[in-house]
Symmetry: C2
Subunit: 139 residues, 2 copies
């Protein structure tokens, strides 16, 4: 069943990320992955579009350089065929300041050959920028 294969890949991926096992994460990323984290690259240089596994691992490395995963809890997982959606409750410590950023993430994924080949990530990026800067944005 494609749905159960996808569920296993997604479960493996988020478990690995939550325990910071980035080697395991890497094995679950397809060489030809098409990846977007929606958000402002001037604040989060690891966000935006990436093509291919090498570029994605570089982006993940960029996140890990600036932030430490404190909590990554999938609250909702929806799987159908090769696609999945995951809403997570997360906390990341900003290494430069020691401050904790708390937010929710919605990911949409597509799997192929037991790996993630398409990835779209959404957060409330306005709130996240305010948390990262430690101040309110004047609008």
């Amino acid at each position: 069943m494609q749905t159960e294969t996808t569920r296993a890949v997604v479960s493996d991926l988020y478990d690995a990320y939550a325990r910071r096992d980035f080697d395991r994460v890497a094995t679950l990323i397809h060489d030809e992955i098409d990846w977007i984290i929606y958000g402002p690259v001037q604040v989060f240089p690891f966000e935006g579009q990436r093509q291919g596994k090498v570029a994605v691992l570089e982006a993940l490395g960029g996140i890990a350089k600036d932030y430490m995963v404190e909590r990554y809890t999938p609250e909702v997982i929806i799987v159908e065929g090769e696609r999945a959606a995951v809403m997570s409750d997360v906390a990341f410590v900003q290494r430069a300041t020691g401050r904790t950023l708390r937010f929710r993430i919605a990911d949409l994924l597509r799997c192929q050959e037991g790996k993630v080949i398409e990835f779209r990530e959404f957060t409330d990026s306005f709130d996240l920028v305010e948390q990262a800067l430690g101040k309110f944005i004047e609008v």
Copy 2:
């Protein structure tokens, strides 16, 4: 099958919204709905948390007052049991300026009794604020 019921509700909901049939939308909202559009309420007063159908219809009315749906195209729909995720490519005309805001939306929904009872909406809210204000935010 719960999955097929959910798929029918979701399909009905997004079709109705895309053709601006808000009466039909209203019939698909559960009285006890728990609703969040993640984003800054100082820019988008219709965002944030709402409890119950009356409050949600008021929020939808707030969107319609400021923006006109130009395009609302679900690109990905994932359904499992009572839950669904929908990623849409959308365009809204800002009535005050005539400018068109283009963005992607990720929704997570849960259905009960043929209606939506839980709703979470994510956008790249930082980008959306810049589009709404018509200028870049200094950070």
